[in-house]
């Protein structure tokens, strides 16, 4: 099961996903068996913006496999900020290490890095674009708690318009048979149409509701995320509705006995602290599952035979990506690359769409 880089979970067929989830479960049941599986291997954690949680999860995964790590998490202080290109850093670091984990504020940065990396590269977040190991964590947790990935009624609550985490989860869970989504949000912050199209295409049903309470009784899973104050249409709307999207003990009264409450963390106040003691609160176990998910992914990637570097597919359209946060805008040497999709050009790095 070859995984040369993990930039975007969606490019891998469902059987790869099943393989990683099953492997994570196997490691979870017998971690000692893998305590030296990556012995002698070095991971680089290149964090161009700090994300302590994600970084610690990857580092823990590597240590639990008997490997070790180098890296940086504060490029402000580091000589990396002294004008070295992403390419040069990746070329050098992929000569030092066996696997690279990179977080970068620019969208498409991980895809760009994979062009220059001699070792497997994992996207640990490229701006607001993708964060595949968060979704992998979610899926591994679902399997761990429910024993299956299909025929589940999954509530997702929060800002469904802008939430990257939620979009990615819906996309991935729509691959599995007969999942049913309950989309809990204000009318203004509902899921975008293309996400609905994905659920339809996957044969998954969904309905949109405006309160946690009306969704509660039927849910197998409740995936909580935050709605930021500034996302409400007016301050008045915020003050009137904020409580509607906060999970507390009272709202849980109508929930199933075996509901599984998830949250990508960090939470602010969207789940009250009292809920933590409810056995249905699974968000801290979710963080633990994230370590097993990453252990499985790292091992599968280390097993993948090395390949020659693949150059970017050159663009036949002499344009720049229109997204100001695209990595191609700050690193000029990266070859432009687009896919055509109808009358749209899709940037091969950040997936920004522009008219041809």
């Amino acid at each position: 099961m070859d995984i040369d880089h993990m930039i975007d979970l969606d490019v891998y067929p469902t059987k790869v996903l099943y393989d990683i989830v099953g492997f994570a479960d196997k490691i979870y049941r017998n971690p000692e068996a893998y305590a030296e599986a990556a012995k002698g291997k070095i991971m680089a954690t290149l964090f161009y913006e700090p994300s302590t949680r994600t970084q610690m999860s990857f580092q823990t995964a590597m240590l639990r496999l008997g490997g070790s790590f180098i890296g940086f998490d504060d490029p402000q202080n580091s000589s990396v900020s002294k004008g070295e290109s992403l390419k040069d850093t990746i070329r050098v670091v992929s000569g030092y290490t066996d696997i690279i984990v990179m977080r970068n504020p620019m969208e498409g940065a991980a895809q760009a890095a994979s062009l220059y990396s001699k070792v497997p590269t994992i996207n640990a977040g490229d701006g607001g674009h993708l964060h595949p190991t968060q979704t992998l964590t979610d899926v591994v947790t679902l399997f761990n708690k429910k024993g299956r990935l299909d025929h589940l009624t999954i509530g997702v609550c929060g800002d469904l318009m802008h939430g990257r985490t939620v979009h990615s989860l819906i996309k991935t869970m729509s691959r599995f048979e007969k999942n049913n989504f309950v989309l809990i949000s204000t009318p203004e912050l509902g899921v975008p149409q293309y996400i609905k199209d994905i659920m339809d295409a996957g044969g998954c049903s969904y309905r949109e509701v405006n309160t946690l309470e009306e969704a509660m009784p039927e849910l197998d899973i409740l995936y909580m995320t935050r709605i930021q104050r500034e996302r409400f249409s007016t301050d008045q709307a915020y003050l009137a509705q904020r409580g509607v999207y906060i999970l507390d003990r009272k709202k849980l009264r109508r929930a199933k006995e075996d509901l599984c409450i998830l949250h990508p963390l960090p939470r602010v106040d969207e789940i009250t602290v009292e809920v933590d003691d409810d056995p249905r609160a699974c968000y801290f176990e979710q963080a633990e599952c994230g370590v097993f998910a990453r252990m499985a992914l790292i091992l599968r990637m280390l097993e993948t035979p090395k390949r020659a570097l693949k150059p970017a597919r050159p663009s036949t359209h002499p344009v720049d990506c229109a997204n100001p946060r695209c990595i191609t805008r700050t690193e000029a040497y990266i070859p432009k690359s687009f896919f055509e999709s109808g009358d749209m050009l899709v940037c091969a790095y950040c997936e920004n769409r522009q008219l041809i």
Copy 2:
């Protein structure tokens, strides 16, 4: 010998202290025997304020036991500062690691963390409150140099009014038979009454002197700390007296041949550099002993069987802690908890005392 958390050395009986000191000595004599004693174990070093020395001492201890570590030391740059509660960080990190070492500027933070940690937790300093492994280091060093912990004449020099390190050392050494303290300070910066009460209760004698020189001839141990300029009553007093509390080669002339000079480090100018070459200068060896002290503590804590989380004893007094630096003032979800002591309420976290 169960040590579930190490928040405050004083809550453990003397036999626990003897056990750790003896174990540290055993490791000191044969470190190779413990080179893989913590193999496969991960320590988290969560430093909410930087303390490079303490952090390096813990990390060295863990590496010398064959373990490894993750963590952070600059929460300004880390996502931990993005509003995550102490509880959530501890819950997540205790799902990643086998032991947690935390330094935090808020008083009582370590006690609060222990409510939420599934793994043994060590207080590496909670504001100006406690720093038990510094005292453990001091005691391990004393035993290493003197072969005993009792019947010692111990000089402590510096700001004895405010010095946490000195208070903690006196409290701990007062547990052992017939120790005799010489308290060297300005009259204004003498030890507080409650410390005198502790020496009395322990059957230890003490006397207060105003110069290093008059104390010198009788001392087995001299524990040096700093008096900061701003602690003198006037600038005039500072200029007149500063030299009195600086240890130099001249003052050492009247000292015993086997005097043992300690200092918690970092020093500024309270010991002159020329003293470093005197065989009685033990402060650098003291730093080394700190590694063995921490190795012993870590191993004992890793051996302690896991227990269920113990909730805080709920308060029967509906008040807030009056200490503005108490962790309960910034983390509102932490259950208030007080002990009664005469007509005082003592905060179970920061030990601040207020009238009932």
Copy 3:
């Protein structure tokens, strides 16, 4: 082959250099054989100013030998900046670890540290003074690519007046038989006279040219470095000449088939990105060779038996070093020490020369 400290490559005889280069080559050919050669050993990486690349190279080397590391790279945030002397930090850290790697902005800092370190100490850059493992990396790379260190025609391009890296490389390569240097620079930024004297003394020929193109056909090695805009005599000169010192595909047309292009990295624009795909571009392999060079050095130093601390040779001249960036100017306790050289006094730390 005893190497107690590595402060300055020049103080070691050529046979030591050959030994390290040969050993690095041996490790390069069979790294698995050394995967546990430093097991249980701890390296301290004390970076008083950040240098992510150098730090990662040392850390990778230690991990590839089965060792581990502690350290800091941002003393701004660390308690090290709270007024602790270099001496105290080195004394403490050399009690924790088995080998110290230090980078420090003050010139002579590594030499000073070696006075107080109980363990082998490596200079990873002391201000603008020395950086011996960069030169070691260069030499190991040359041997790796060319199979010899003599009878080579070596072009060095850039600011040859101020370039520490280039001076150090010329000094070292002048030790080997019949090397021939081509010095490529503007007339104003040519090598200083004392470097010419060294080449003469080593029996190495050299010539100075003003363009990359005229040098190209005869070169076995081309060592590229940067000329900073502010080094040109006028802005006009910069705009007129900048392209002359930029290596691009066109200039390579006249180069030998087996030219080896090196660069200490990071590059800015002195080598165009298109050159990276040329098989003669060896600068990324050079970074990899740096890991093997450091592995060899670390192992040799760990093998060296411990010695007692050697005090500085006391100065017979009651003067201060005139160099404001000398470590003796900020750390007053360091004993002054000078060598006489003709009518000059040479500081034993920073090598600054002043009239007697």
